[in-house]
């Protein structure tokens, strides 16, 4: 009879101990505690909602329709944010420009992560001559200042690609050029981080074990080592979105990036400094959208960095 009793006790004993938190639960818990990061998520969601949801209220034609009789009109009930130098509605342009700016940030980040991770992983994993060649190339790219390089590439390539249709909208081909060019000029920092992590991880026992069981190199790189270095990649990728949005704004602001009539928050500012006195609404609205978006993404990146810090995870 005694055995029966103990069997009934077992479930209670098991229940008493809470299951350990999963890694992602821990990270989420820590992220929630970072107030600025949570505020960042909210602001960013508002921005996304504004530029996607706004499209249901205003037609894209509104953002492209020029009417020079109402050029440079101040904000009014008819045009909430005023009109630009050729009489286009700035409210509609911030909505459709926001879509492009966010899209550029996101896709340029993906390009950057693919290139940076590939180069960093190959250099760190294989070492030797391949490492030397890739790292010299990385250093050379790091030493060419990014903004002038972006300007040169944007200028030379912007009008080389025909307009593209995507998501039911027609983009100027320069959008694609800018995405690729930003992605290809900003991967160096990430490549260095990934390489450093690969250098130390490839010496660990689990990699030796994987190699002994005959695992292929690409599988060791992408399935065994890469998951162990995800934290810095996630943080870099988040901040890369903000940097890509700013970079696009810089080149478009100087009239070299995305070509009109396609609006972005950056190219709406192009030439606005000529009307600093007479038409401040030209630059205040798109400028504020850029600042808020970049600020919120930087906050999120900061929160993720704290939440993913392995030293901090142990303490909880």
């Amino acid at each position: 009879m005694g055995t029966d009793l103990s069997l009934n006790e077992i479930p209670k004993l098991v229940e008493a101990e809470k299951p350990p938190l999963l890694l992602r639960q821990l990270v989420f818990m820590r992220f929630k505690r970072h107030k600025m990061a949570v505020a960042g998520v909210i602001i960013l969601l508002i921005m996304i909602f504004y530029s996607i949801g706004g499209a249901f209220l205003l037609d894209e034609d509104e953002s492209l329709y020029t009417d020079t009789s109402i050029r440079l009109n101040a904000p009014s009930s008819e045009h909430l944010f005023g009109t630009d130098v050729v009489g286009r509605d700035i409210l509609a342009r911030t909505i459709y420009g926001g879509q492009i700016s966010l899209l550029i940030g996101l896709i340029a980040m993906i390009v950057e992560v693919i290139v940076g991770v590939l180069i960093g992983a190959l250099a760190g994993y294989y070492g030797g001559i391949l490492d030397s060649i890739l790292m010299r190339f990385t250093e050379a790219m790091l030493n060419i200042p990014q903004i002038p390089l972006l300007l040169v590439l944007g200028k030379l390539l912007a009008d080389k690609i025909a307009p593209v249709a995507l998501f039911g909208r027609e983009f100027s081909g320069s959008v694609i050029v800018i995405i690729v060019v930003i992605g290809l000029t900003s991967w160096m920092g990430l490549a260095r981080i990934v390489r450093a992590n690969f250098l130390s991880l490839r010496e660990q026992e689990f990699v030796t074990a994987a190699r002994c069981t005959g695992t292929r190199n690409w599988s060791i790189i992408f399935e065994h080592i890469l998951p162990n270095t995800m934290a810095p990649i996630i943080v870099s990728a988040t901040l890369a979105v903000a940097n890509a949005i700013i970079s696009e704004a810089y080149v478009s602001f100087l009239g070299v990036g995305v070509l009109p009539p396609t609006a972005t928050w950056g190219n709406m500012l192009n030439g606005a400094y000529n009307y600093i006195e007479s038409a401040p609404w030209l630059w205040i609205f798109p400028g504020l959208f850029i600042v808020l978006t970049v600020l919120s993404i930087n906050f999120i990146g900061d929160g993720l960095r704290d939440a993913l810090d392995p030293r901090a995870l142990v303490q909880d």
Partner: protein, 344 residues
């Protein structure tokens, strides 16, 4: 130490070669230099062919790169394509200080055009860099000593916002406030565009007045980033044992902070600043364009818009050279500041 410097110098040479190849391939292979020269006078195909041969554009790209580096004064060119060479090449190559002639300002060497604008850029850069260093150190140290106080939190939040600001937004906002609205309100206002008022002339006070807004907008973004860095470095150092020891042996707070803490906290800061300084030249493109400052940055965008390859390539190459040189200096200063580092 001497060995280390020599080794770093030797490493810099292949790096500069790779950079120059990247820049050359990107720029030379695209665009039509003859069109940039003002094609109207060159409509005759014979003229185009003649110029193509004089400029070496008929050569394969690697030969053009060699001409760009070393010149082509030893090469005989058959200008009229009749089988007999007519003249020697005129290019001296960048190793002999010849970046080619500007295509837009005909006959003027690209290097002269660039160097003519360089002092104006330095006039903005040097004061800006001094202001940046001073304020980021002061603000960073101050907020690290009062960690988690209200002032510290305001500074941290403010620097985060400043750090996320694109420089053009700061520039436009400061122009709007200090130039446009101050004039509206009848307050003393600052000028926005140019280097001096043409009616008054290039006097000292005029140039100084025109420098204020560009320098403020350039500094604000950098100070935000750097002061955060100084703060975190100081916090790390202050919690070390040797700082407690310094206090324990009765040193004044001032001596502990300046003599012990700051000296160690400054080492990574020196590296960061040393690497960043030449990149300020790249950022100058935006600032100079907004404020109409006749410096190298605006020269870059003006000549890029007219496809003046030699000038654009020259500026890119000079900035990259500055980056490499500053990295070298930074490394040397770093090893000198920190005796723990022994490069062998």
């Amino acid at each position: 130490m001497a060995r280390y410097i020599v080794r770093r110098l030797l490493q810099a040479i292949p790096l500069l070669f790779i950079i120059s190849i990247l820049i050359f391939v990107l720029l030379q292979s695209s665009g039509d230099p003859l069109a940039s020269m003002g094609g109207k006078r060159l409509t005759r195909p014979e003229d185009r062919a003649r110029l193509t041969r004089i400029m070496g554009l008929d050569q394969p790209i690697y030969m053009q790169y060699i001409y760009w580096l070393f010149g082509n004064t030893w090469v005989q060119i058959d200008v009229d394509n009749d089988g007999t060479p007519d003249m020697y090449g005129q290019r001296k190559g960048i190793f002999r200080g010849d970046f080619g002639d500007s295509l837009v300002n005909r006959g003027q060497p690209a290097l002269d055009i660039i160097l003519e604008r360089l002092p104006n850029t330095l006039l903005l850069m040097i004061p800006a860099e001094i202001i940046i260093l001073f304020f980021s150190l002061v603000i960073g140290i101050y907020s690290s000593l009062r960690q988690y106080s209200l002032t510290d939190q305001i500074i941290t939040a403010g620097s985060f916002i400043g750090y996320s600001m694109p420089i053009f937004f700061v520039a436009l906002a400061s122009m709007y406030i200090f130039a446009v609205n101050f004039r509206k309100w009848g307050l003393p206002y600052l000028p926005t565009v140019g280097m001096f008022d043409p009616k008054i002339g290039k006097t000292f006070s005029q140039v100084a007045m025109h420098m204020v807004l560009p320098i403020v907008s350039m500094s604000l973004v950098s100070i935000s980033g750097y002061s955060r860095f100084v703060r975190s470095q100081m916090l790390e150092v202050i919690s070390q044992d040797y700082i407690r020891t310094a206090y324990a042996k009765g040193l004044s707070e001032r001596m502990v902070l300046m003599g012990h803490a700051l000296k160690n906290a400054a080492i990574p800061f020196v590296t960061l600043v040393g690497i960043d300084i030449p990149f300020l030249l790249g950022g100058a493109v935006v600032t100079e364009t907004i404020f109409g400052w006749p410096g190298m940055g605006r020269l870059f965008i003006d000549h890029l818009n007219r496809f003046d390859t030699p000038v654009v390539m020259g500026i890119l190459m000079l900035i990259s050279l500055a980056v490499v040189i500053f990295q070298l200096i930074t490394d040397i200063v770093y090893s000198w500041l920190d005796p723990r580092i022994r490069y062998t």
